[in-house]
């Protein structure tokens, strides 16, 4: 028997299919402030925001993988991203990202692009980002209230006839992450629609407000002057209450139409 056919098959098999990376697409990420609506907290205060800014970095988009539905909402960050050891795939990995430092300014920057994300094709479930302290490198002026802090909100809280204007700045621990905000979309090779990043003062599922636990009248009275103006700053009790909610995934979402 001739060995030639066997050698040809051998050569063919050993050469015909190289390794292959999954397809990647480039999608623009833009801010979408249209979902910032009035939010009523558990003390009956209805908050209307006029400024909402957060300093953050490293947007990540995660797939559910093949985790069972019982754990479907499991944040991608927590499953290790195959870091531990090759071959021990568990799903839920980060497969899309936009690297860089950003200030999410949902009012002044509504509709503006943050950059172009690098995204593997797949079925996406979640969004993560990392909080950070802002700096002059973000283009902030020396008198900008956000400078040196993580988040800055300005708004008015109303309850009956009472209105309290407020300014709030928050510090979130360096490298703390917001994990698992919904980003439910299928990205395939033909997708080009931008990813819209939203801030939601009210949790759309349970109706909880970002400002739950805050009594704005009490805040107004803290300075012994009920002038209808209040501030929330690091060290305040209200700061720590809101900061906790600020890190929850329920106040963010991303979509790609």
């Amino acid at each position: 028997m001739s060995t030639r056919p066997a050698l040809m098959i051998f050569a063919l098999l050993s050469a015909c299919t190289p390794s292959q990376e999954p397809e990647r697409v480039a999608l623009e990420v833009v801010l979408d402030g249209t979902e910032i609506t009035e939010s009523t907290n558990d003390a009956g205060w209805t908050v209307t925001l006029t400024t909402a800014r957060i300093a953050a970095s490293s947007l990540q988009f995660t797939i559910q993988g093949e985790m069972h539905a019982a754990t479907a909402w499991l944040p991608g960050w927590i499953v290790g991203r195959a870091w531990a050891h090759p071959g021990h795939y568990a799903g839920g990995d980060v497969t899309g990202e936009l690297v860089g430092d950003f200030v999410f300014d949902w009012f002044a920057g509504d509709g503006l692009g943050l950059g172009t994300a690098d995204v593997l094709v797949g079925n996406y479930e979640g969004l993560n980002f990392t909080f950070r302290s802002s700096s002059a490198a973000d283009g902030l002026t020396a008198d900008d209230p956000l400078l040196g802090h993580t988040a800055h909100f300005v708004g008015v809280a109303r309850k009956g006839e009472v209105a309290v204007g407020f300014t709030a700045v928050f510090d979130v621990d360096a490298a703390a992450q917001m994990v698992g905000a919904p980003f439910e979309t299928t990205v395939d090779a033909g997708v080009s629609a931008p990813i819209e990043l939203r801030f939601l003062p009210t949790d759309p599922v349970e109706g909880k407000s970002l400002f739950d636990g805050v009594d704005f009248a009490a805040l107004d009275a803290l300075d012994m002057n009920t002038d209808g103006l209040a501030t929330i700053a690091p060290g305040d009790v209200a700061h720590n209450i809101v900061r906790r909610a600020l890190q929850s995934h329920v106040h963010y979402a991303a979509t790609s139409k």
Binding site: E21, I78, H85
Partner: protein, 639 residues
């Protein structure tokens, strides 16, 4: 079963790529091995659509002793077979799928049993030396007196190998001895087995394919040169076999000490930009076990097999992130574990007619854990159990054909760390992060239908179709310390083997395995499992003293996570030897075509270059397979 296979000493003696007993697993049809350390570290196994990692779904026994390490810190069911000396492996028995009641924990894909001994035609005393092109030296001394039976031998092996590239260095010394102490018509036989083994090995880690293509690191290079580990084993067993009450009783008591440690880094400094992501793992245990099996006929056509076993392990294990000087950065795990594994089984074999044989039975497995978390001052206990039915039917159709069908339930017990899951989630866990599911035994349900044709002289043909379904596989993620439940999977496949033996001394064999492994709902491929595995083997053992072996293995493109795909490759390994009188000369040639191939391929995120963006996106990584290597061996036989 059609898929059962027994590989005899004759075939093993000429197996190519026979560097260690670990490599003998390559002889098992349908098994794919991937070494992502150096020789001495357990290999990654794939069988029947399972990525069994380091042994989580393939049960392996050596001389009847279970070798899979339940709760090993490096991987569940970790297998290290390097303590075996290839010259004293007399048989490998392969039972794919979980269809027999003897098959226990980890046998979801199948069981592989190594039997030790030296066959009569190979007995005597011999001294061998092997010199390899990778600056490899291996010496072996085997003493198997002809006056003793095949179960008695003394063997000693020492090996040092620089490896084909950085990070592949390995050395070991091993002693494996077995002797029949008692051979009495009244009291039966008593065999003592003793083994001692120590090895050190390198660990090259995986390279990002993009770094290799950009010329930043050679194809077979390393990012860091300090990866590696050591492995130590002391093992002893006493086996008693006796005829009793019209049946046969076999019992075994064994004890073992193991130490394993290793340092590795697969991700550079992605997790820790300051100190890097090196991880040091240590796993050490003492274990003791007892097994008993009794078989006897109940009637002319009916026989009974009952048995049971217990094994207790006392484990100390740790996992630590360390810096470049190997100083401690973060302690991830520091556990003390006491665990027990026990089972009882019973089965009947009924030769209903001369053409129909039925086997049925069940086993009940019990696992008990007592886990002390030294880092979090926590202690958890858990007892888990599960029953597994097994059924087989064999039909003989004429003189040449046999048909088989079987159903079996396999199982994999959770590792000790998963018992703590939900109580040791990371300290920065806040708000609504998932704390994981409950550790449990997960079962698999498997069926097989097959046929075997046995020709008069020359040809045997086997065909088996199999399916394995897992409703909810539980994966313990050791980074986040949570138990993750995966969606349902099914693995469907076909195995074909054809053996042609035109002469008594010559056999040609073709094994082909095709697997379609998918998640049921999404239809996505189960990552890791090779869809095609082909092995073409030639075995020549001529009475003149000439021996030769050749194997061409073809591995289909394995699906990787996130839609990536590994490369297809084909490897040709050769061996040839000639014995004249007391002298035998041999040559082994690995990768005879010098194919540039990737032994392991993975898809995950890493960061190795300070100037690169710190991306968490997964990308292809690989570990280079060995290039052409030649080993010359000479063996001197003393009668």
């Amino acid at each position: 079963m059609a898929s059962q296979r027994v590989i005899e000493a004759r075939e093993l003696s000429v197996a190519p790529r026979r560097r260690s007993a670990d490599d003998l697993l390559r002889m098992v049809p349908g098994v794919l091995l991937s070494q992502h350390g150096a020789e001495g570290k357990g290999q990654q196994l794939f069988l029947r659509g399972f990525d069994a990692a380091h042994g989580s779904d393939v049960e392996v026994l050596v001389a009847g002793i279970p070798i899979n390490e339940l709760s090993n810190i490096h991987g569940q069911g970790y297998l290290d077979l390097n303590f075996m000396i290839p010259e004293v492996v007399r048989q490998i028995s392969v039972s794919k799928g979980p269809f027999q009641i003897q098959q226990g924990n980890f046998a979801n894909a199948g069981s592989i049993r190594f039997e030790l001994g030296v066959e009569p035609n190979a007995r005597g005393t011999r001294v061998g030396y092997e010199l390899g092109s990778t600056i490899r030296h291996r010496g072996v001394v085997l003493h198997a007196p002809r006056s003793l039976g095949r179960d008695s031998f003394l063997a000693l092996e020492a090996m040092k190998d620089q490896g084909f590239a950085p990070g592949r260095q390995a050395q070991r010394v091993s002693s494996l001895n077995q002797i029949r102490l008692v051979r009495s018509p009244t009291f039966g036989t008593l065999d003592l087995l003793g083994a001692g083994y120590y090895a050190t090995f390198g660990s090259p880690g995986a390279l990002a394919a993009s770094d290799v293509s950009a010329g930043r690191v050679p194809f077979d290079g390393v990012y860091q040169g300090d990866g590696g580990g050591s492995s130590l084993r002391a093992l002893s067993s006493l086996r008693h076999q006796v005829a009793l009450g019209g049946g046969r009783l076999e019992q075994r008591v064994y004890g073992q000490f193991r130490h394993f440690d290793m340092l590795e880094n697969f991700t550079g400094d992605l997790q820790d930009p300051v100190h890097g992501d090196r991880r040091a793992q240590m796993h050490r245990f003492f274990s003791g076990g007892y097994q008993v099996e009794y078989t006897r006929p109940l009637a002319e056509r009916l026989s009974l097999a009952v048995g049971g076993a217990w094994q207790g392990d006392s484990i100390s294990q740790s996992d630590t992130r360390v810096d470049a000087e190997h100083g401690v950065v973060q302690r991830n795990w520091d556990l003390g574990v006491g665990q027990h594994q026990a089972h009882a089984r019973a089965g009947l074999r009924w030769n209903a007619t001369k053409w129909l044989t039925l086997e049925g039975g069940a086993r009940a497995d019990l696992f008990a854990y007592d886990v002390i978390d030294h880092l979090h001052a926590d202690r958890q206990k858990r007892v888990l159990g599960r029953a597994s039915p097994r059924l087989l039917a064999a039909f003989r159709v004429g003189e040449r054909w046999s048909l088989f069908t079987a159903y079996g339930r396999g199982l994999r017990a959770p590792e000790a760390r998963s018992i703590l899951a939900g109580t040791t989630t990371p300290s920065d866990v806040v708000l609504d992060r998932y704390k994981g599911g409950t550790a449990k035994i997960f079962p698999s349900d498997a069926v097989e239908v097959g046929a075997r044709f046995t020709g008069k002289r020359m040809v045997t043909v086997g065909l088996a179709a199999f399916g394995t379904w897992i409703e909810r596989e539980l994966v313990f993620d050791h980074v986040s310390a949570v138990n993750l439940e995966l969606n349902s999977t099914r693995r469907l496949g076909v195995e074909i083997d054809v053996a042609v033996r035109p002469r008594e001394w010559l056999e040609l064999r073709q094994d082909l395995t095709l697997v379609h492994a998918r998640f049921v709902e999404s239809g996505a491929a189960v990552p890791g499992a090779p869809p095609l595995l082909s092995a073409t083997t030639l075995t020549l053992v001529h009475p003149s003293g000439l021996r030769a072996g050749a194997r061409l293995q073809v591995v289909g493109a394995r699906p990787l996570p996130h839609g990536a795909r590994a490369a297809t490759y084909a490897l040709l390994d050769l061996s040839v030897g000639y014995r004249r009188g007391p002298l035998e000369l041999g040559v082994q040639v690995d990768n005879a075509t010098n194919t540039r191939w990737k032994e392991g391929e993975y898809h995950y995120a890493s960061h190795w270059n300070a100037n690169d963006p710190r991306s968490t996106l997964p990308r292809l990584h690989f570990i280079a397979g060995p290039p052409l290597a030649v080993r010359l061996a000479t063996t001197l036989y003393f009668m």
